[in-house]
Amino acid sequence: MKVIKTINLTKKFGDFIANDNINLEIEKGSITAIMGENGAGKTTLMNMFYGLSKPTSGELLINGKKANFKSPQDAIKCGLGMVHQHFKLVPGLTVFENILLGTEITAGPFIDTMKEIKEVSKLITEYKFELNPKDKVSDISIGAKQRVEILKMLYRKVDILIFDEPTAVLTPQEVDELLQSFRELKKQGKTIILITHKLREIMEVSDEVIVIKKGKIVGNVKTSKTNPKELANMMVGRDVVLDVSKREKDFSTSKVLYKVENLKTENDLGKTVVDNISFEIREGEILGVCGVEGNGQSELVKLLTGLMEKTEGKVFLNGEDITGMWPDELRKKGLAFIPEDRYAQGLCRDMSLSDNIIAGYHSGEKYCSFGLLKRKEITKTRDELIDFYDIRISEREGNISSLSGGNAQKVIIAREFDADPKVIIASQPTRGVDIGSIEFIYKKILELREKGKGILLVSSELSEIMSLSDRIIVMYKGKIVGQVDGKTATKEKLGLLMAGVR
């Protein structure tokens, strides 16, 4: 039976056609992957499924009946639920309170907490999830938060689950757990729609793949009858080479560019989260930092980018002490940053693309004279970078908030790389970015390496760390627990170190 069927579904934003006559069918109890580049129209399509926006023309049939959703609540009532990329959870509430939010079980005027916990525990065991209903959501990992979102939908008796780039924020281990959950959900008869551009996941769990490019369906194949190369080709329109080949280098005689000595800091609770970290980066070297999320990598990056204060230790650039400098001072010294959370630290959502593309460099001579911004110069840079970095935007004068996640990331990459820095601190540079752009970012990073820049690469994608880094350090509980040569690193070796086994 077809649970979802669309007939010539079209969505226009003004003159821009986001979805162009989409015709698709989704089988009950199957896992369908919808893939496409950033801005191809996947999210627009799903928003129509979920009642967040209305189609301009065409029809959507759920279980054979014409659906006309006015809000997500209508969609949920119809058995269709969505797990968003950015979770809609309340951090101050517990797991069970979040799951039952809006449908609380009451006894008289009061909430029946005991019964709520029992209900949620039942649900957790039924779907074999690992969760404690009484934990506060602010204290649990990102993977666990996602499980809360899934349960929120399952509690509302949803049969069709849409996942919007669910693995973009997960660690490799959490991805495996999520894929396992998908199989379990499928076994229980749920239909899953997976929006993603990660080929590995698609090949591993999906039954069918629908490829969208520029708002149109360009491919619809059984997963068993295709391969990653063919899919990547369909999505990008050409062959994609992600296997990075880099020139072998001997660093023993290269100059030390960036040096960190015994760096230490603690969090609000007084716990040491970065513990005695020392490393150096030589000219033209890429130093990878990996570890399970929450082992001090974020804090290390915050320290190095001037967002956090150290308790002990020193940082040197070219032998000059730059410890404790603020981000603008660091940028002037020749550092560039790609922050972990692009919206929290990298971009200002409510400001224009041109403002964002010079942010951090706005007081330099290039864009500013006598305290006034040179608008012409800024517009010129903006247009150059949009073209050069292939940033897809419908309106050049528009705000950053109108860009898709991957394109927003490209804005940061364009800004930081264009500044011609000596050292780049890159945290999760390809998180949530499509494969074509990943290829591009890798190429750019390697170009900088060739130019003799120093690069610190922090990433939770092991394959990324392994293929790019010359040397890899592994963090566990705030300490460096091991150093591995980039050439000889294996997933197993890094995995053990990440788990704290020396």
């Binding site: 809000s71 997500p72 609540q73 809609k88 959870l89 309340v90 951090p91 101050g92 509430l93 309170e97 979040n98 939010l101 809006g102 449908t103 609380e104 009451t106 005027p109 009061f110 909430i111 929120k152 800091t265 603690e266 969090n267 609000d268 609770l269 007084g270 915050k302 001037g306 967002l307 956090m308 204060e309 150290k310 308790t311 603020w326």
Partner: protein
């Protein structure tokens, strides 16, 4: 001994309206619409209840009309700041200035220096002695012999705690404040929650005003709230909107008010200076509390 007794009795006496204000403010605070108009709402409550006691010749009807008028003011505030999405700080500021100007104007208009309702309301008769409690030495002169709204304000601490943490409404208030998107995504009507949170505030502000004017002194004088609404906001901030913690800070301010009044009696020519104590205290407490909270933060 009697000085200490007086100080403690007055602490309860002066804390009561502050507690009502704080409890009125925490729901809006938790729902992320900081109600800076507590001051103005209290002033309207004080003015209108006194005036309508004079008109209706009835304490109860005067207070009821005062409450209704303040609720209407609360509706105006929420209509502007929630429905029309104007900046609620500016809106609140406007309401504070409006009520102060209106009450001052009306006094001028009626050509009276203040509203005296002592012929209708006998403040001595409004003091309630609590059975059993009134016979216990030491405590009796402090806790007994207060007015109804004073006792009610302390009961409200408990009621507000239950409402905030044990009911759907309280949960929704916190959810709307913490993550409005999450609330909307499960179909919670967040605007309605914000309206209710502000209206609870308006209701309690009106009672605080009535307590201050008619119930305690049977007299309304111009601008008699004297910044209590802002002291309450400071208490809410220090207590992070938690009912018990915030009211504890309210009593700290009640204590300083009581100290300033009782000590000023013996201070001679500098007695006027003592009136600044609660306000100076407010600045100090706010500074200390936030310094303690950010002490460990290494984030810039």
């Amino acid at each position: 001994m009697s000085l200490i007794n007086n100080i403690l009795y007055d602490t309860v006496y002066h804390s009561a309206p502050l507690i009502l204000l704080v409890l009125g403010g925490i729901f809006a605070y938790k729902a992320n619409v900081l109600n800076i108009a507590l001051e103005g709402m209290m002033l309207l409550g004080a003015f209108s209840s006194a005036y309508f006691v004079l008109i209706t010749k009835s304490l109860l009807w005067g207070i009821i009309v005062g409450v209704i008028l303040t609720l209407i003011l609360g509706l105006i505030f929420s209509y502007f700041s929630v429905t029309l999405k104007s900046n609620f700080i500016i809106t609140g500021l406007g309401i504070n200035m409006f009520t102060l100007a209106l009450s001052g104007f009306l006094l001028q208009f009626f050509s009276i220096p203040n509203i005296n309702v002592s012929s209708i309301v006998s403040t001595a008769n409004l003091k309630i002695d609590i059975p059993f409690l009134k016979d216990i030495p030491i405590i009796a002169p402090i806790l007994s012999g207060h007015t109804f709204l004073t006792y009610f304000s302390f009961v409200c601490i408990f009621l507000a705690g239950v409402l905030m943490f044990k009911t759907k409404f309280g949960t929704y208030v916190r959810v709307v404040g913490e993550n409005e998107e999450a609330a909307k995504s499960v179909g919670i009507k967040s605007d309605r929650i914000k309206y209710l949170a502000v209206l609870i505030g308006a209701f309690l502000c009106a009672l605080a005003g009535a307590n201050l004017s008619v119930e305690r002194t049977a007299l309304y004088t111009n601008n008699m709230t004297a910044g209590r609404g802002f002291i309450a906001i400071a208490a809410i901030y220090c207590g992070r909107g938690m009912p018990v913690k915030s009211t504890l800070y309210a009593t700290v301010f009640g204590l300083t008010k009581s100290l300033s009044i009782n000590l000023a009696l013996n201070a001679g020519p500098v007695s006027g200076l003592f009136e600044t104590v609660p306000y100076v205290m407010m600045v100090i407490v706010l500074g200390v509390v936030s310094a303690i909270e950010s002490r460990r933060t290494k984030l810039r």
